[in-house]
Amino acid sequence: MGSELALNAQELVKNYGKTRALKGVTLEVEKGEVFGFIGPNGAGKSTTIRILLDLLRPTSGRVEVFGQSPRQGGPELRSRIGYLPGELVLPGRRKAGEYLYHLSRLRKGAGADMIEPLAKRFTLDLDKTIKSLSKGNKQKVGLVQAFMHRPELLVLDEPTSGLDPLLQQEVIAMVHESTAQGSTVFMSSHVLSEVEEIAARIGILRGGLMLDVDSIDELRRKAGQVVELRFSTPVSAGEFSRIPGVSEVVAKDHKVNLLLHGEPNAVLKTAARHHVTGWSAKDRDLEELFLDFYRTEEVAPDGR
């Protein structure tokens, strides 16, 4: 049980009545890491996150934030966390600025000095009542309160939803700044591309189970490459489909398309027996791999 872990969940189970929302989620996030928590809606991302904030209590399993259970850590532990809820609900009648100062008072004033600068950075009008704000502007209120006290751990549930691309980039920049100061970031999304840019490691959750935890590089490797080879004469698919690590071989006329996992050596040698007139190999879109995970009913394919 290293103190180097910011988050440590072991076999986390959560039941709501008879429905089992989490079926044994295990995940470890090191201090200073940016961890992307990915899964379709209803996979249990928000349930996991709300357990970290002690809003929900796990049915069984162990969970620790900075070595303490959220329950025992209580307010003191939460003072070290900044949280952006997935479904942000703010009191409509209050003014954005007034509400943000209220929230900072719940933190004994921490972050009050950052409200104005952050609002300026996000171009958020603090004098407007919350109900008069657009969805994106409400999200800005949520982002300001999550970042303002420079927390050691940022828990962001779908942070960029409802934001335009420019603001998405701003959020990504803020996440980078936070990690540069030593913060840990745990962010969820139902779209991989949102976290691909910033997260070093990614956990994929589906149906209350962690399907896979990997570095982005490892995921890319698993995703494989789409290879296209062109020949001067027609070539049969059989030659290539025998090669280990090669799948989805399609031979048509003078062209062979295949999906390659691992080294290209054997493919190139096989191709070189013929007259190769052209070739291309590009990384498969991670989003496609992600969809593979979603589609598979059983535990994830190993990509081979």
């Binding site: 809003l55 949280y83 004994k108």
Partner: protein, 267 residues
């Protein structure tokens, strides 16, 4: 200041201040309006003549047996009818909203994700209900004092204070029950429905129970009885009644807050 030491409490009051001012103004106006009618018919024999034609049971149920005196009139109308009804509406709806209502709406989540314990959050929110009810009870008292002075009515101010304390505790009892049901279950509908049912039963136990043979005890278990049956405006402080209401609050609120601290926050 409270803003720093009790931030949750201060936040709720800030959010409520407009509606609280409107409520207090309305209750002040209703009380003043009612009392201003007393000289024109309450003190004349005409009123007593009408009362004499009514069955005794009805007169007792309405608390009109002393209606011809200023203290009896104010006790039966302002403090016996409109005061409790209005304070119930405010108290129960506020009590049900401050945890269960905001929990269902989702606005409690962000506050609880901050460094505030569940007990503390619930305690400060309950305190906000208490202060709101104090404000309303005092606005009724202020209207009464003003009109009693203007019309030179024969009401002892000490008794008015006792009656006001009763009104406040009566409101706080039902408000706390609504708050407690809401805190324990997270359901605003349960809090509103459960408390409304209790209030209706309490009213029947007070107004109808004693008319039934062998039903005198029913008034003794009703908050309406604890508040009204000893006519504090005529007889002064009813510490027994106040203590019973305090006991209900002292049991319901901590028990419910303990459940709230242990359960999952609803989405």
């Amino acid at each position: 200041m409270a803003v720093d030491t009790l931030p949750v409490f201060a936040g709720v009051l800030r959010e409520q201040r407009r509606s609280l001012i409107v409520w207090a103004g309305a209750m002040f106006a209703v009380a003043a309006f009612y009392i201003s009618f007393f000289p024109s018919f309450g003190s004349t024999t005409a009123m007593q003549d009408v009362i004499d034609t009514m069955p005794k049971g009805v007169v007792d149920a309405l608390g009109y047996d002393q209606i011809a005196t200023a203290a009896g009139y104010i006790g039966a109308t302002v403090y016996g009818l409109l005061g409790p009804v209005l304070i119930l509406v405010f108290g129960v709806s506020t009590g049900a909203r401050l945890i269960a209502g905001e929990e269902e709406a989702g606005s409690l989540e962000l506050e609880l994700a901050h460094p505030v314990g569940r007990m503390r959050l619930a305690g400060e929110r309950w305190l906000a209900v208490t202060v709101g009810l104090t404000f309303l009870a005092l606005s009724v008292a202020a209207a009464s004092v003003l009109l009693i002075a203007l019309l030179d009515l024969d009401v002892e101010l000490g008794n008015l204070l006792a009656m006001t304390a009763g009104l406040f505790m009566f409101g706080l009892t039902f408000s706390s029950v609504a708050f407690a049901i809401g805190a324990a279950t997270g359901r605003r509908a349960f809090a509103l429905g459960g408390t409304a049912a209790l209030a209706v039963m309490g009213y029947l136990a007070h107004a109808v129970g004693p008319q039934l043979s062998g039903g005198a005890w029913m008034d003794d278990i009703s908050p309406f009885g604890w508040y009204l049956s000893n006519d504090p405006l005529i007889n002064g402080w009813d510490f027994g009644g106040l203590a019973l209401m305090a006991a209900v609050i002292a049991v319901a609120v901590p028990a419910a807050v303990a459940v709230f601290a242990r359960r999952d926050l609803g989405t």
